[in-house]
C-alpha cells in the first residue's frame, strides 16, 4: 500500500481508548479514510509502525511513566504535525486527580508490590513534554471534530479553534436553560463547546467533560452553585472532575474554600 498519500499515525498513551474510537466508530465512512491518508500506525486497528515518519500524528492519552516521556519525544521527532486529542492528552485526564494527592500512597493501596510499577508523580498533558500543533479538548473527542481537523490540516488550512462555551450551543439548538428553569448546577457557562450541548439536551446539567472555555468566570458560577444549595465541597467537585488539571478548572478548584479535603 505504498503511496504518495500523507501518512497518519495514531498513538496511545495512558487512556481509556475512547478517543481513538472517534475514528473506529466512524462506521462506513471509515472505509474512505485510507483514500485520504496512509495509516501507518494504529495499533488497536492493526497497523503497527510506530517509528515511521508521518505528516500527522494523533495522540491520545496522558504521559504518566518515564518510558512515556521517551516515547512522546520520539513521536514528536517523527511527526510534522502533532495533534493531541481528548482530555487525557490535553490536560492529563481524569487520572490527573492523582496530581492532587500522593500517588505513591495510592499505588500502595491498590497494588501489593507497587515497586514493580514505574510511574511518574503526575499524569501530564502531552504539551508539558513536547510542542503540540493542535489540541482538541473533549472526553471523548467526537468524529466530527477529529475528521474536520484532519481535513483542514491536510488541505493546509489552520483549523478554527472552538472558543465559545456550551451555553452558546444550547442557544443555537434552542434548548431551554436547565440551570435557570430546573436549578441544575450546570457547568455549561464555563465549559468549552464542541459536544453539541449533549447534557442539557439529555435533560441534565453539563459536567464539564470538554474542559474549560476561554475567559471563564468561575467565581460567579461557584456563587450561583452555592445559591442552588451545593456546599463548598460539592462546588469543588464540579471543577475537580474530568478535566481537573486543565488550567482554568485547576485554578478555579484551588481558589475555592472547599479545598481542604484530600
Amino acid at each position: 500500500m505504498a503511496t504518495d498519500k500523507p501518512k497518519l499515525a495514531v498513538h496511545k498513551f495512558s487512556s481509556c481508548d475512547g478517543c481513538q474510537l472517534a475514528l473506529l466508530n466512524l462506521g462506513e465512512p471509515l472505509l474512505a479514510l485510507p483514500g485520504l491518508v496512509d495509516i501507518v500506525h494504529f495499533a488497536e486497528a492493526g497497523p503497527n509502525s510506530p517509528d515511521q515518519p508521518v505528516e500527522i500524528s494523533l495522540v491520545e492519552g496522558s504521559v504518566s511513566t518515564p518510558e512515556d516521556i521517551e516515547r512522546i519525544q520520539q513521536v514528536r521527532q517523527n511527526s510534522k504535525l502533532l495533534v493531541s486529542i481528548g482530555a487525557c492528552a490535553t490536560s492529563g485526564g481524569l487520572q490527573a486527580l492523582g496530581n492532587f494527592a500522593n500517588r505513591q500512597e495510592w499505588m500502595a493501596s491498590v497494588y501489593s508490590d507497587p515497586e514493580n510499577i514505574e510511574l511518574l508523580n503526575s499524569s501530564d498533558p502531552i504539551s508539558k513534554h513536547v510542542k503540540v500543533d493542535l489540541q482538541i479538548q473533549g472526553c471523548p473527542v467526537n468524529s466530527t471534530q477529529v475528521i474536520g481537523a484532519l481535513r483542514d490540516l491536510l488541505s493546509g488550512v489552520a483549523p478554527r479553534p472552538e472558543v465559545h462555551s456550551v451555553c452558546m450551543e444550547c442557544k443555537r439548538k434552542g434548548l431551554i436553560c436547565t440551570m435557570v428553569t430546573k436549578g441544575d448546577p450546570c457547568m455549561g457557562p464555563v465549559t468549552l463547546a464542541g459536544c453539541g450541548a449533549l447534557c442539557p439536551a439529555t435533560g441534565r446539567g453539563c459536567y464539564g467533560c470538554y474542559g474549560p472555555a476561554e475567559q471563564l468566570n468561575d467565581r460567579s458560577i461557584s456563587d450561583r452553585f452555592e445559591q442552588l444549595g451545593l456546599d463548598a465541597q460539592a462546588v469543588l467537585r464540579r471543577f475537580r472532575f474530568i478535566a481537573n488539571s486543565a488550567a482554568g478548572f485547576k485554578a478555579a478548584s484551588e481558589g475555592l474554600r472547599g479545598d481542604t479535603d484530600g
Binding site: 481509556c16 481508548d17 471523548p140 459536567y207 467533560c209 479535603d261
Partner: protein, 432 residues
C-alpha cells in the same frame, strides 16, 4: 533429528486489542520455561479517584475506565448504589437499561468480530487490508457497529461515555419517534446478524479443546446481561456480595493488571462462558440458528468465541426489538434514590465478561472506598494457561513467526481490554 532450539519470542506491542500489552515466551529444551502476558497500560488508580465523589458523579467517572464498554461500568455502578438503598427500578427502567446494554454488546461484538478477530482467521494484518477482499463482510461489521452505537446514543446522547444513566433511572426518556426509527433499523439488521452467525461458523477453527471453568451471571428469568447470581460450571452459585469469599485478586510482577482466581484456579468469563452456562435460556429461534452449523454449546474450544459473539449479537438485536415494541414514554424517567450508608455491590456482564464493583458509601451518598474487578484481569490467568497449552499442541518447533501469530490469535479470542485491566502485548519469545 534436529536439536531442540532455544527460543525467545518477544511480541513487543500486541495489536488489535484495546490498550497496550506484550507477551514474553521462553522455550528451553523444547519446553515452555516462562510465559508472561505483560499488561503495561500505566495504572490509572481509578479506585482512588472516586473517593470523595457523589454517587451520580461516580457513574460518570467509572465510564472513563473504558472507551469500549463504558455502559457496562455505568450499569455495574448504578446497580450497586440502588441495591444498597433497597431501591428496585421501575419495569420501564429495567427494560430500557437492558436495551441500552444490548447496544453495547452489539457495537463491541461487531467491532471485535470484524475489525479485531476476523483478520486472524482470514490471514490479514488488519481490517483495512481485509476490506479489499471482503468488502461486504467489513461493511456489514461497520453497519452493525454503528447500529449498536446509535442504540446507546438513543439513551445516552453519545456511545462513548454516554450521559443518560443516573440513580433511579435515566435523565431523559427517548422520544417515541426515535424509538420507532430505531426499531425499523434493528429489524432490518436481523438478517445481517443471522448471516454473520453462519459466516463465523464457517471459519477454519483449530482443533483445540481444553478443560476450563466457565463463570457467568445467571438470572432465572432471562439470559443474564445486567444482573444475576454468580455461577460456574462446577456448582458455584452465589450472590455477588460474596465474590471475595471465592475469588482472589493477586498481583504478578510482570503486569499492572491484578490476576483473579476462583478457588485458586484460573477461569473464563465472557461470551463463550455465558453460552456454556446459559445457552438454554436463549430464545428457541436463536438456538435454532445454531442447528446444522457443526458447532454446539457448551464448547471448550476458545476459537469458538467468535461464533459466541455472533450469536450474542443476534440475540442482543432480537432482545432490543422485543423490549422496544409497544414502547411507551414513562411519566418520569427516574425516581430519587435515597442515600444509605453501607457496602454496595454491583455486577453485570460487560461484552467481555463479568464486571464486579464494590463501593463503600457514607450517609450523605459520598463514595469513601471502591474496588473494581474488570473481565480482562479475571481472564488473564486463563489466557496464559491457554497460550501454553495451545502452543504445545500447535508444536513448539514451529517458526517464531508462526508461534507469534498463534499466540496473538489465542489472546484475541478473549477480546482483552487492557485499558480496563490496568489497572496488554509485546511477544518476547526467548529460546534458550
Amino acid at each position: 533429528m534436529a536439536e531442540h532450539r532455544d527460543i525467545h519470542i518477544n511480541v513487543p506491542v500486541l495489536t488489535r486489542v484495546e490498550g497496550e500489552g506484550a507477551l514474553e515466551l521462553d522455550i528451553v529444551g523444547g519446553e515452555i520455561e516462562r510465559l508472561n502476558l505483560r499488561i503495561f497500560e500505566p495504572p490509572r488508580l481509578f479506585e482512588k479517584f472516586v473517593e470523595g465523589y457523589e454517587r451520580n458523579q461516580v457513574i460518570d467517572m467509572v465510564a472513563r475506565i473504558c472507551g469500549i464498554c463504558p455502559v457496562a461500568y455505568q450499569m455495574s455502578a448504578v446497580q450497586a448504589f440502588e441495591r444498597l438503598s433497597g431501591f428496585t427500578p421501575d419495569p420501564w427502567v429495567e427494560g430500557m437499561r437492558r436495551v441500552m446494554y444490548c447496544g453495547e454488546w452489539i457495537q463491541s461484538h461487531a467491532l471485535h468480530v470484524h475489525l479485531l478477530a476476523a483478520p486472524d482467521f482470514l490471514g490479514f494484518d488488519s481490517v483495512i487490508a481485509m476490506a479489499a477482499d471482503y468488502p461486504d463482510a467489513v461493511r456489514r461489521g461497520l453497519q452493525l457497529q454503528t447500529l449498536g452505537n446509535d442504540l446507546i446514543a438513543m439513551f445516552g446522547g453519545r456511545s462513548v461515555h454516554p450521559v443518560g444513566i443516573r440513580l433511579g433511572g435515566f435523565y431523559r426518556a427517548p422520544d417515541r419517534s426515535a424509538v420507532e426509527k430505531m426499531l425499523q433499523r434493528l429489524q432490518a439488521a436481523l438478517p445481517e446478524a443471522e448471516a454473520l452467525i453462519g459466516w463465523t461458523a464457517g471459519l477454519n477453527f483449530p482443533d483445540d479443546d481444553q478443560s476450563f471453568i466457565s463463570v457467568a451471571l445467571s438470572d432465572p428469568d432471562e439470559y443474564a446481561i445486567g444482573q444475576g447470581r454468580l455461577i460456574s460450571g462446577q456448582g458455584l452459585d452465589i450472590d455477588i456480595c460474596y465474590f471475595d469469599s471465592h475469588f482472589k485478586e493477586i498481583q504478578s510482577p510482570h503486569s499492572t493488571a491484578l490476576h483473579c482466581e476462583l478457588e485458586g484456579r484460573p477461569y473464563l468469563t465472557g461470551p463463550l462462558a455465558r453460552l456454556n452456562l446459559n445457552f438454554h435460556q436463549l430464545p428457541p429461534e436463536v438456538r435454532k440458528l445454531m442447528e446444522g452449523c457443526g458447532i454446539s454449546f457448551p464448547s471448550h474450544n476458545m476459537f469458538h468465541s467468535i461464533v459466541a459473539r455472533a450469536i450474542e449479537l443476534y440475540f442482543a438485536i432480537s432482545e432490543a426489538i422485543r423490549l422496544l415494541q409497544d414502547y411507551q414514554s414513562p411519566a418520569e424517567p427516574y425516581r430519587e434514590v435515597e442515600a444509605v450508608e453501607g457496602n454496595a455491590f454491583g455486577c453485570s456482564e460487560a461484552p467481555r465478561g463479568i464486571l464486579w464493583h464494590r463501593y463503600d458509601v457514607d450517609d450523605a451518598g459520598i463514595v469513601r472506598y471502591a474496588r473494581i474487578v474488570p473481565p480482562t484481569s479475571q481472564n488473564q490467568g486463563r489466557i496464559e494457561e491457554d497460550i501454553a497449552l495451545s502452543l504445545q499442541k500447535f508444536g513448539l518447533d514451529q517458526t517464531d513467526e508462526k508461534l507469534r501469530l498463534r499466540a496473538e490469535q489465542v489472546i484475541r479470542n478473549y477480546d482483552p481490554c487492557i485499558s480496563c485491566a490496568t489497572h496488554f502485548l509485546k511477544l518476547n519469545v526467548t529460546r534458550g
